[in-house]
Amino acid sequence: MISLRAVSKSYPSLIGRRVPAVDGVSLDVNAGEVVGIAGPNGAGKSTIIAMLLGFLRPTSGEVTVGGMAPRAYVERHGVAYLPELMSLVKSWRVDHALRRLAVLAGVPASRVSQEVARVVAHLEIGEHVKKRIKALSKGNFQRVGLAQALLCEHDVVVFDEPTHGLDPVWTQRFRGLVDALRAPGRSMLVASHNLDELERVCDRVAILDRGRLQRVVTVRGPAAGDGAVPARAYRLRVAGDAQAALAAFPGAVVAGEHEIDVPPTDVAGLNAGLAQLIAGGVQVTALAPRESALEAAFHAAVGAGGRGRAD
């Protein structure tokens, strides 16, 4: 559905050199799939999205959506899009803005009120519909942005930093919203700093750094590691003194009174260590990976600290 082939985008700098924002990225988002884009600040996430909506033209390479040039596709079918840089006329009232955008989205005149009421109820912004855009908090404005994206059913959904500004309750609800939007013919792209968010909602996550695609991690489905689980670091919590648990895991360090950090180990090593602990009478109260597979892949691709923030 969405296809990027060796796509590059560069901008001229003040001294005439071209500065690459996206460099040779190839990526496919198939129908029925939710693909995430992760990367530090300036990695090129929003530039890729701008190109696949036809807001920017690639310097080289090809972007197609539904087999068409992006702008042609958007003008014919529309895209459910929540931009990272949300901006609406500040003097508009929320309901007025939604009505306008519903008309542009192609909602028939007889259904505009109904569709606006539906998204207002869905995003629970009823108490804000008479407010002007400028009076909204960041989180409520973000929900208005989500509401306008959902005014119509589209085959392409693009969310850029969708949970930015949302409170924890709505951050959780967003996951349900993405799940509800999943459909066999629909392609969804979610760009975010938030790796945990991406891991929860996406099938695959493309990791970008400095405009280049570093790797694509499958986080859901048959290829998501149901077989061999890669070596991971773990945090282990025990009932007694943490020192007692160190012997079972070579290289482990005490992380707290009842906690140790286990260095990266495979499943066999982990189970052997746990068996030794339990056989020695130590009670294990909790065990969790110190980072998810996606976080591990991200840090491997971008570097432990990353160049930017990766929450």
Binding site: G78, Y81, L101, L104, C152
Partner: protein, 246 residues
């Protein structure tokens, strides 16, 4: 599902009236009202002597102010506003043609300005005596085509369209004034450059003809229309071929 761009016209009309037409209309009504209020109570506006001369001056001042101000405010930041404020991300993720959206808005602003010019003329006429309302509407239309067409192209091309449009208009007037002077010493190359500037002098000529009851001078009119529509066409090409995001 296709976007309902024609249905969106009513929102564009409301924006036009509120954001672009209200200021010049209010200003000229205020100017006209103050002038009328300060005139002697028993003035005969149709009299050949003082009343008619005063009305002609008032009409030309009011019409001139509305036509020029309306044209500039009507086209300033037409595309730029949506682009620089980022509104385009919401507007053009919907199934609508960017070209059609702005072309519709441009036509609406032109028609709206001509209609308001007509209404203001009729209002003034009702308060005074016969004035060339049709001529003022024609001048509004021609000025819109010229200034609006060039302004549209500038707005599609750059974020500094309003400033550049004012500079282009003033520079054209100055250069054409110097070129047209009887003893002009303008260098030949500058004469050639002046030929490329906005034909503001043609507008002046057409206005002089129309306001004195003459016929529309077609060659000058076609020159103005061709220049303005070239600007309009350039805007369409720019919208089609350049990126919305900068």
């Amino acid at each position: 599902m296709r976007g309902r761009i024609t249905a969106y016209l009513r929102f564009q009309l409301a924006d036009f009236l509120l954001m672009r037409a209200a200021l010049p209309a209010t200003l000229v009504v205020f100017l006209a009202y103050m002038t009328l209020a300060s005139a002697p109570a028993n003035v005969d506006w149709s009299a050949r002597s003082g009343g008619a001369r005063m009305l002609t001056q008032l009409f030309q001042a009011v019409a001139g102010a509305f036509i020029v101000l309306g044209s500039f405010l009507g086209v300033a930041r037409l595309v730029t506003d949506d682009r620089s404020n980022g509104y385009f991300r919401f507007l053009f993720s919907k199934p609508v043609s960017v070209v059609r959206f702005y072309a519709q808005q441009w036509v609406l602003h032109g028609v709206g300005l001509v209609a308001i010019a007509g209404l203001l003329g009729l209002w003034l006429e009702a308060r005074t005596a016969a004035i060339p309302v049709g001529a003022a509407m024609t001048m509004m239309a021609l000025t819109w085509i010229l200034v609006g067409g060039v302004g549209f192209a500038l707005s599609a091309a750059t974020n500094y369209d309003a400033l550049l449009l004012v500079i282009a208009y003033v520079a054209s007037s100055v250069l054409q004034g110097i070129k047209g002077a009887p003893d002009s010493l303008m260098a030949p190359w500058l004469r050639e450059v002046t030929k490329l500037t906005l034909p503001v002098h043609k507008l002046d000529y057409i206005r002089a003809q129309l306001y004195t009851g003459g016929d529309l001078p077609w060659p000058a009119t076609l020159h103005v229309v061709a220049y303005g529509m070239t600007g309009f066409a350039a805007a369409i090409v720019l919208l089609r071929r350049t990126s919305l995001a900068r």
